[in-house]
């Protein structure tokens, strides 16, 4: 019996959306730097945000591979939109989905799948980034619930959010073993937001600080049971890194496609610049790195889908694909030369957006330390 391959079919259809609805306005969206509400709504109608969740529980019945294919395609159009999609489909809703009560599912999760409510993920603090064991946002047990106090920063989509999944410390003496995830709706008393950050790249993604002052939450808003916070973190971090690698893949493809087109058209000394070997070398490196990134990324996602431990593979994929995205966008600006420095061309945007990937999912210094440790250092 002949049937379509789901991965190819989904990729093709998302590509049609990206080509028609995102690429023609990507530059304009980036210039404006506003949350892409219209696109967000359209993506929700296609059931994109539920791709990782099963159909019988409000999702679209896909898996991590399909999720990453979607992230990659959207990132090819505009990385900041893809980062919003990733937040809504993965970090912003994952713990709510797995640990929330039926009531929370109806009130927050299903509306999030429909694009009516936005979820965020708050781990980083002003004084704790890479070293999450040092977070000081505190969840203190009180009668019937918890009091939350602390400050989170670099909250992707923070200004647009309806609810936050917040990593809190329950017992500072335990450091990482004391952490847990808590659910905090934005409209609770004591939640306040900073103004929006001005950022180098991914300019449609709004980011801010979120402060919690004596915020009372009921018991059921503790998402991860006691002692399970660290495990929950380790489980999701592999998927976050695979997703970040997929975002990097999309950016590499965009930078490479524009570089090839430009190199074939731009004339110098009577021939297209693509005829010069030094330009060919840049393109050849982009193509080779892209191919390797693809293999690494989708090997990691396949392992995740098979329920295998994939933190090492996902970490290596994120590290390699992101470094390749940084290099491809850098080379792209060189191929465009003067026009790579112009805000009217795409090269500068790829160059700026790529820097986001260096931080999301862990810095590369930290990733390299992890990798070295895993191979025996």
């Amino acid at each position: 019996m002949i049937r379509s391959n789901p991965e190819e079919l989904i990729r093709k259809n998302i590509a049609r959306f990206v080509d028609n609805e995102i690429i023609p306005i990507a530059q304009e969206l980036d210039n404006k730097g506003e949350f892409p509400r219209d696109i967000f709504k359209k993506l929700s109608k296609m059931g994109i945000f539920g791709i990782r969740y099963p159909r019988h529980r409000g999702g679209s019945g896909g898996n991590t591979t399909l999720f990453c294919i979607i992230c990659e395609e959207i990132s090819r159009g505009l990385l900041s939109v893809a980062s919003i999609v990733a937040m809504q489909s993965l970090m912003g809703t994952n713990f709510l989905f797995h640990y929330g009560t039926g009531e929370m599912f109806e009130e927050f999760f299903l509306p999030a799948m429909r694009g009516e409510k936005i979820g965020c993920f708050c781990m980083t603090e002003p004084d704790a980034g890479s070293d999450l064991g040092a977070i000081t946002t505190r969840a203190t047990e009180v009668d019937d619930g918890y009091l939350i106090n602390g400050m989170k920063t670099w909250v992707t989509d923070g200004p647009e959010a309806s609810f936050y999944t917040v990593m809190c410390q329950t017992d500072p003496s335990k450091r990482l073993r004391g952490i847990g995830y808590f659910f905090i709706p934005r409209n609770l008393p004591g939640v306040s937001l900073s103004s929006r950050f001005q950022c180098l790249g991914t300019r449609t993604t709004p980011i801010c600080e979120v402060a919690f002052k004596d915020v009372f939450i009921p018991k059921e808003y503790r998402l991860t049971p006691e002692g399970e916070g660290l495990n929950a973190f380790l489980k999701i971090i592999a998927e976050i890194r695979a997703m970040t690698a997929a975002l990097a893949l999309g950016l590499q493809r965009a930078a490479m496609a524009d570089s090839i087109k430009y190199a074939n058209e731009r004339m110098a000394s009577g021939k297209p610049i693509g005829k010069f070997q030094l330009v060919q070398s840049k393109i050849a490196n982009m193509a080779t790195n892209l191919e390797a990134s693809k293999l690494m990324t989708y090997r990691a996602t396949a392992m995740i889908d098979e329920g295998k431990e994939a933190l090492k593979e996902a970490t290596m994929a994120k590290y390699f694909a992101t470094e390749s995205a940084c290099s491809a966008s850098d080379e792209c600006t060189r191929i465009f030369a003067g026009y790579g420095y112009s805000m009217e061309y795409t090269a500068q945007r790829y160059f700026r957006d790529a820097r986001f990937l260096l931080n999301g999912g862990g810095t590369h210094e930290v990733l390299q330390c992890n990798i070295a440790r895993w191979v025996g250092i």
């Binding site: 019996m1 002949i2 049937r3 379509s4 391959n5 789901p6 190819e8 079919l9 989904i10 093709k12 259809n13 590509a15 049609r16 959306f17 359209k42 109608k45 296609m46 059931g47 994109i48 539920g50 791709i51 159909r55 999702g59 679209s60 019945g61 896909g62 399909l66 979607i70």
Partner: protein, 263 residues
């Protein structure tokens, strides 16, 4: 109401290249897509299904890879799809294609409306829709961009003209060829796309025997025309700017037109 939609999978890039030696299309690296006018026909059918209630069956003739076009159609909301695939169908010209599609529609049996795209971006003939209507002896309206009503055995449509439009009432069953209108084709939900990949998805594959045709009537042997050679046009025309006073330029221009035997 039963609607049959005819769709074709085409190379998704207007920048199609031909192999200079063989004259064949270079398909590598080019995604196949549903032909844009056909996608519009599909959208029209599914809108009718939503507003008036209808069963939408999608039909395509093509190689096994054309299954993706049908999966996408199911994802958009079609109720069933049929792939006409048989080595015997290969090499069909527009006549043999129309004949084969017509036979398949007869096998489907019940239909009130057949919708096709106006033309495919790879061949640009705009012949298949009208020829299918001829094969089935049906009335047809081409260049339809709006279906106003379907009632009492008639369909009323707007048909695009160069400088305006016609409103036409046509008895059913009928064949309409569709062009882009105000409604853009929808994007399928990912869950529906995934369902379309299941073994249980309502997609059938029919071969020559299934539609009761002999191999002599279809494909290359059933074709009246044959493509002798395909080539990419060379753009060798160059513009030339005539300079001088208006009087000089006009004289110069008339001289050139005469030289080229244009006047």
């Amino acid at each position: 109401m039963n609607i049959v939609v005819l769709i074709k999978q085409v190379p998704g890039n207007s920048d199609v290249k031909l192999d200079p030696k063989t004259g064949n299309l270079i398909r590598e690296g080019i995604d196949a897509i549903i032909n844009p006018d056909d996608l519009q026909a599909l959208e029209t059918a599914i809108t009718l299904k939503e507003t008036l209630g209808a069963k939408v069956t999608v039909l395509t003739m093509g190689p096994p890879q054309a299954i993706d076009a049908l999966s996408e159609a199911i994802g958009m909301g079609a109720d069933g799809a049929i792939l006409l695939s048989d080595r015997a169908f290969a090499g069909a010209d527009t006549w043999a294609t129309s004949f084969t599609l017509g036979k398949a529609i007869q096998r489907i049996g019940k239909f009130d409306l057949i919708l096709a795209g106006r033309q495919a971006i790879d061949g640009d003939t705009a012949q298949v829709g009208p020829q299918v209507a001829e094969c089935l002896d049906l009335p047809q309206v081409t260049y339809v961009f709006d279906i106003e009503t379907v009632e009492n055995g008639y369909v009323r449509v707007k048909r695009r003209l160069e400088d305006g439009y016609e409103r036409i009432q046509c008895s059913l069953p009928a064949l309409l060829t569709i062009i882009g209108g105000p409604v853009k084709p929808r994007y399928p939900e990912v869950a529906s796309l995934l369902s379309a990949c299941h073994a249980k998805a309502p997609i059938q594959v029919w071969n020559a025997a299934d539609i009761g045709v002999t191999t002599a009537d279809v494909g290359m042997s059933g074709s009246f025309t044959q493509v002798v050679k395909t080539f990419a046009p060379k753009f060798e025309r160059h513009g030339e700017l005539l300079e001088g006073s208006a009087v000089e330029v006009v004289h110069n221009l008339i001289e050139r037109l005469k030289q080229n035997k244009l006047i």
